[in-house]
C-alpha cells in the first residue's frame, strides 16, 4: 500500500511540471510583447523594461521557466496589472467562499444523488425509475447559470425568502449551492443506479436472497456496500467539476470567490492573475485526483493487495 501511495504521489510531480510549463508558455503564446502585457496598458517604456528584467523575459526560455518555478515555490505569484496588488494577496481571501460553496453543493448532491440512484435501481423498469432517471438526465442538461437565475427569480425576487447574491449570511449559500450541485446529483444518481444494478446481478446477492434475507438487507448490506467503492471514487472526481462550475455560479450570484476573480481578470486581461488562477485551479484538480486515487486504493482491497 505504501508503494502504491508513493507511486501515485510521485506521479503527480511530472504532471504538475507539464501543467506549469503549459501555463508558463501561455503568456508567451499571447500575441504581442509579454512584458508590455504584464506591465499593464498604461505602463511607460521604463516600467515595461523593468518588468522584462524582473520576469527575466530577456533570458533564454528554459531559464525563464526555472525562474518562474522558483518564484512560484516562494509564493510569489506576481503583481496584478489592474489593481497593483500582490496576486497572492488577491487570491488568498477568495479560497474560502469557493471551497465552502463547493463543499455545500457536494454534500447535498451526494446524499440526494445516491438515494435517487439506489431508489431507481430498486424500482428498475417501473415509473418511479423513469422519473428518477428523467430528473438525473435533466440535471446533466440544465445550464447551471440558468438554474441559478430561475432560483433567484422565484426565491429572491418573487418570494423574497433568500438573498439574490453576495455572501452576507449563511443563507446566501443556499441558492448557489443548489444550482452548483444539481449536475453532480445527476451524475451520482445515474452512476449509483448502474453500479447497483450491476451488483444486484452478482452471485452473492442471489445467495443472500436464497438464504432468505430481507430485500432491504440485500440491497443495503450487500449490493449498496459493494457499490460504495465506485460511488466514492466518482464522487471524488466530481469535486473538480464543482470547482469549475463555481466560475459560473459565482458570476450569477456575485460571490467574491476564485471563479469570479478568474472571469474578471480575463475581462481586464490581467495576465499575472489569470496565470496564477489557472495554476491554482490545476493544482486543486491534481491534488483532488490524487486523494481520490489514494482513497480508491484504501477502499479497494484488490488494488491494496496487488500493490
Amino acid at each position: 500500500m505504501g508503494r502504491y501511495c508513493l507511486k501515485r504521489v510521485l506521479g503527480t510531480i511530472p504532471l504538475m511540471l507539464v501543467i506549469s510549463f503549459i501555463i508558463f508558455m501561455f503568456v508567451h503564446m499571447i500575441p504581442g510583447d509579454p512584458a508590455r502585457i504584464m506591465a499593464g496598458k498604461d505602463a511607460t517604456l521604463e516600467e515595461i523594461n523593468r518588468t522584462r528584467q524582473t520576469l527575466g523575459l530577456d533570458q533564454p526560455l528554459l531559464n525563464q521557466y526555472f525562474m518562474y518555478l522558483n518564484r512560484m515555490f516562494h509564493g510569489d505569484l506576481g503583481t496584478s496589472t489592474t489593481t497593483g496588488q500582490s496576486v497572492a494577496e488577491m487570491i488568498g481571501p477568495r479560497f474560502q467562499p469557493t471551497f465552502t460553496l463547493a463543499g455545500c453543493a457536494l454534500v447535498w448532491s451526494l446524499i440526494i444523488g445516491v438515494l435517487l440512484g439506489v431508489f431507481s435501481a430498486v424500482m428498475r423498469g417501473k415509473w418511479e425509475d423513469y422519473i428518477g432517471m428523467l430528473i438525473a438526465i435533466s440535471g446533466i442538461s440544465i445550464p447551471v447559470f440558468w438554474l441559478g437565475l430561475v432560483l433567484i427569480q422565484i426565491f429572491s425576487v418573487q418570494l423574497g425568502w433568500l438573498p439574490t447574491g453576495g455572501l452576507d449570511s449563511i443563507q446566501s449559500y443556499i441558492l448557489p449551492s443548489l444550482s452548483l450541485g444539481v449536475g453532480v446529483m445527476a451524475v451520482m444518481a445515474r452512476f449509483s443506479r448502474s453500479s447497483m444494478l450491476e451488483n444486484m446481478r452478482e452471485d452473492y446477492v442471489r445467495t443472500a436472497r436464497a438464504k432468505g434475507q430481507k430485500e432491504s438487507m440485500v440491497v443495503l448490506k450487500h449490493a449498496f456496500r459493494n457499490s460504495l467503492i465506485e460511488v466514492v471514487t466518482v464522487a471524488g472526481l466530481q469535486i473538480g467539476g464543482l470547482l469549475a462550475g463555481s466560475i459560473l455560479v459565482e458570476t450569477v450570484f456575485t460571490i467574491p470567490g476564485m471563479g469570479r476573480l478568474l472571469v474578471d481578470s480575463i475581462k481586464f486581461r490581467d495576465y499575472p492573475v489569470i496565470e496564477a488562477e489557472l495554476l491554482l485551479f490545476s493544482l486543486q484538480f491534481v491534488v483532488i485526483n490524487l486523494i481520490v486515487d489514494l482513497l480508491y486504493g484504501v477502499l479497494n482491497p484488490k488494488i491494496r493487495y496487488e500493490s
Binding site: I137, P143, F145, W146, L278
Partner: protein
C-alpha cells in the same frame, strides 16, 4: 445442404446487402422502442429544420429594435415578449438556433476529426506516439471542460470563432480515447491480419478496415458531445467570452436578460429554456443510441 444451395443461388450483391439491411432494420426497430430517444430525435430534427428556415419563420427582424415595445411581456403580438431594445425574443431565438447549432456542430466535428486521427494513430502504431498522445489526452481530460474552454479563450481571445476552437480542443481527448481503444480491439483481428498479408498499406488498413468498425461508438459520443458543446458555448457567451451581446446567441441573450430579471423574467426563462431543452434532447438521443448500439446492452 438444401439451405446451402439456396444461399449459393442468391446473387452476390443480394447476399452482401441482406445482412446489412437486416442490421439496419434491427437497429431501427430497437431504437423506435426507446420512446424518449425517439421524441428527442424528433425535437432535434425540428430544430434543424427551424435553423434552416429561420429567416422565413421569424415574425420580426431579430436585430431591429422597437422602442415602443421595450421589455414587453409575452403577448399575441410578441409571443415570447421583447428584450431591452424591444427586439422580438421569438425571432431572436429562431435566429439563435442557427448560431448555436452551427457553433456546436462545427466544434464537435473539428474535435471528432482531430481526436479520431490522433486516436487511430496512437492505437495503430503504439510505442512513444501512443504514450505522447494518450498522456496529453489524460492531462486534458483531468480538467473540467468549461475551465479548459475558459483557459483557451483567455489565450486566444473572445469571439464565436474562438469558442469553436476552445470547444473543439476539449472534445479531442474523448474521441481520441474511444478511437484508440476501438483500434486496439480490432488491430489484432483476423480480417486486419488478412488485409496486412494481402499487402494493404497502413493507411488503407486504418481507414478502410479499422475505422468503419469504430463508427458506432464515435456516433454515440458525437451526439453526446453536441449537448456538452451547446452548454459550453452558451456558458462562454454568458460569461461574455463568446458571442457579442448584440448577436442573437442563446447564451448572450441569457446574459443580458439577467439584468432585467425583476422586470422581464421572460427573457431569461425563454432563452435558458431553449438551451436546456436542446441539450436534454441531444443527451436523451445519445443515451438512446448508446443503448441501441452497445453490444453489451444488446
Amino acid at each position: 445442404m438444401a439451405e446451402e444451395k439456396v444461399a449459393l443461388n442468391v446473387p452476390q450483391e443480394e447476399q452482401a446487402l441482406a445482412p446489412r439491411q437486416s442490421r439496419a432494420k434491427a437497429f431501427i426497430l430497437k431504437f423506435i422502442g426507446r420512446k424518449t430517444a425517439v421524441i428527442a430525435a424528433g425535437f432535434i430534427i425540428l430544430l434543424v429544420i427551424i435553423a434552416f428556415l429561420a429567416p422565413a419563420l421569424e415574425p420580426y427582424n431579430p436585430a431591429t429594435p422597437d422602442y415602443d415595445a421595450i421589455l414587453s411581456a409575452p403577448s399575441a403580438k410578441h409571443l415570447f415578449g421583447t428584450d431591452e431594445y424591444g427586439r422580438d425574443i421569438l425571432s431572436r431565438l429562431l435566429a439563435g438556433s442557427r448560431l448555436s447549432l452551427s457553433v456546436s456542430l462545427s466544434s464537435v466535428t473539428l474535435g471528432a476529426g482531430l481526436g479520431a486521427i490522433l486516436g487511430i494513430l496512437a492505437g495503430y502504431y503504439g510505442g512513444w506516439l501512443d504514450s505522447l498522445i494518450m498522456r496529453t489526452a489524460d492531462v486534458l481530460l483531468a480538467f473540467p471542460d468549461i475551465l479548459l474552454a475558459i483557459a483557451i479563450v483567455a489565450v486566444i481571445g473572445p469571439g464565436l470563432s474562438n469558442v469553436v476552437i476552445a470547444v473543439a480542443v476539449f472534445s479531442i481527448p474523448s474521441f481520441a480515447r474511444i478511437m484508440r481503444s476501438s483500434t486496439l480491439a480490432v488491430k489484432q483481428s483476423l480480417y486486419v491480419e488478412a488485409a496486412r498479408s494481402l499487402g494493404c498499406t497502413n493507411r488503407s488498413i486504418m481507414w478502410k478496415h479499422i475505422f468503419p468498425g469504430t463508427v458506432a461508438s464515435i456516433i454515440v459520443n458525437f451526439t453526446m458531445r453536441i449537448g456538452t458543446a451547446i452548454l459550453a458555448a452558451a456558458s462562454l457567451s454568458f460569461l461574455g467570452f463568446g458571442a457579442k451581446p448584440t448577436e442573437p446567441d442563446w447564451g448572450a441573450m441569457l446574459s443580458t436578460g439577467r439584468n432585467y430579471l425583476g422586470v422581464a423574467p421572460h427573457i431569461v426563462y425563454f432563452s435558458g429554456g431553449i438551451i436546456f431543452l436542446t441539450v436534454l434532447a441531444f443527451n436523451l438521443l445519445g443515451d438512446g443510441l448508446r443503448d441501441t448500439l452497445d453490444p453489451k446492452i444488446q
